[in-house]
Amino acid sequence: MLTLKHIGKTYPNGVRALDGVSLDVELGEIVAVVGGSGCGKSTLLRAISGLDRPTQGAVVFKDDIISEPHEKIGIIFQEPRLLPWLTVAENVGFGLADRPKDERKARVARALERVGLTEKANVWPRELSGGQAQRVAIARALVARPEVLLLDEPFSALDAFTRIDLQDHLLDLWADQKPTLVHVTHDVDEAIVLADRVVVMRPRPGRVADEIVIDLPRPRDRQSAAFDFAKRRVLAALDRSLDRAVRVDDGETKSEAGAALWW
């Protein structure tokens, strides 16, 4: 289990990015973190990954206090961050350098097959499209078999079709090993398609404003009424988190206004 205990982060210039964020994430759970810009979503993720240390509180994973990157915690960034001097296969196998060559080759091949890029194994990253590059980044993170996978707005730079495609793909991959996912996004639809629970954050300083459990069976139908209802709840929570007066009109106009304005 992953536990955040009163995480606070104050930057050296005095900006308080996070204040008293507490969260328990169960094994295999998918948690989406949404919130307006500047609410410390990425700061939170970097603290969990061990890339940055919180100034107050602690991130605890299986009795370890996280102070540097952990073997069992992987992260996928907003950009693919592939190493341009390695082929696609070498990029995927980057974290397996200490494994025997045969095992490494087999695991890389399986991971590439799983993201549908077997025929791209020997090309350079520059030859990939944005969506393909992000799939390679996903394969690189998953091939190390993390127990927790952090995703920092991984699909935000992609076009709408590719994004939906990759969301489904991510769920499919998640089903293999059922790692815990903490997924930061500003796309409410994405949060509801993926998550068991949506954590809404409020800015200045970043705090948890609300938690909404999404109790819909998977695969989730983006057109269904239940999906829309969940979306309205999240948007309303976002509106509240920004201290925006929630108008008492019918739900339709409210959600439209929220969808357009909250971020």
Binding site: S49, E68, R81, L83, W85
Partner: protein, 277 residues
């Protein structure tokens, strides 16, 4: 490589013309020098000029042939090449090591970099008198001067390259928990390689520049000696022959360096089509 790709796209609609385009472009660059040389040859042949101070190509060729026949050319070439090789090797070694350490460690950078930047402001030729006093007039002082010339671009290039490695790429190494050595070998070295190759090439260019200065300060062999000898004996053919030899050697060593490093930079080439490795 980029030229080939350009040529290919330019003649895509007309594949028959492709070969012509591919050959025509470098030939264009030869038009001016070859034209001038031929023109001068004709002017001298017609007796309009005696070509004593500005020798025509045929006399330069004769001088070359004479130098080559007597074995003089080879002796001078080897002397100069050995000096450049030794100075370039030493300068590269020192520049790479110090540049890497200064780039990697902020403390070392703050300690060492200001002094080195101060020394860099001194024109390297100003060291000649001191080097002669310290190291004598023979090979050591010459190699030292070349090494100093080579050192600075490489030191600066390596340090700058390390300081400008993308933080995002470094974080990938951190996420996969690379050790210090692993970080250097698997992230920093490949990331700085393109800049490093550029600094090696400019270092080599400076090496060729400084070998002349070094040979001017008193040498009994080498291309720089040929230049001085030609001046003192009033033989412009010898001077031009030495200059041409410099041009050929400089270009050839640069091409070799670029070719040796090219396989390590294949990932960079944006023009290469997908199927090709």
């Amino acid at each position: 490589m980029s030229f080939e790709a350009e040529g290919a796209t330019a003649s895509e609609s007309k594949p028959a013309g492709e070969r012509v385009v591919r050959w025509a472009r470098p030939v264009l660059g030869l038009l001016l020098p070859v034209g001038l040389a031929l023109g001068w040859e004709i002017v001298v042949w017609l007796g309009i000029s005696d070509g004593r101070l500005v020798p025509p190509p045929s006399r330069i060729y004769e001088e070359f042939a004479e130098l080559a026949r007597s074995g003089e050319l080879l002796r001078h070439l080897i002397a100069t090449l050995m000096r450049v090789a030794a100075g370039f090797g030493l300068g590269t070694l020192a520049g790479t090591l110090l540049g890497a350490i200064a780039g990697y460690s902020g403390l070392v950078r703050r300690l060492v970099d200001p002094s080195l930047q101060g020394l860099r402001a001194v024109p390297s030729i100003a060291w000649i008198p001191l080097f002669i006093l310290w190291l004598g007039i023979f090979e050591t002082s010459k190699v030292a001067l070349i090494a100093v010339g080579v050192f600075f671009p490489i030191y600066l290039g390596v340090m700058d390259a390390i300081l400008s490695v993308d933080r995002k790429i470094v974080e990938v190494g951190r996420v996969f928990r690379l050790s210090g050595a692993g970080m250097v070998r698997r992230i920093l070295l490949p990331a700085v390689l393109p800049t490093y190759v550029v600094s090696l090439r400019s270092g080599l260019g400076l090496g060729w520049m400084f070998v002349i200065a070094a040979e001017f300060m008193g040498a009994s062999e080498g291309l720089g000696y040929l230049l001085i000898d030609g001046q003192q004996l009033g033989k412009p053919t010898e001077i031009v022959a030495a200059i041409l030899a410099f041009a050929v050697l400089g270009k050839a060593t640069d091409a070799i360096l670029a070719a040796v490093m090219a396989p390590f930079l294949r990932w960079q080439d944006v023009f290469k089509p997908a199927g090709e490795q």
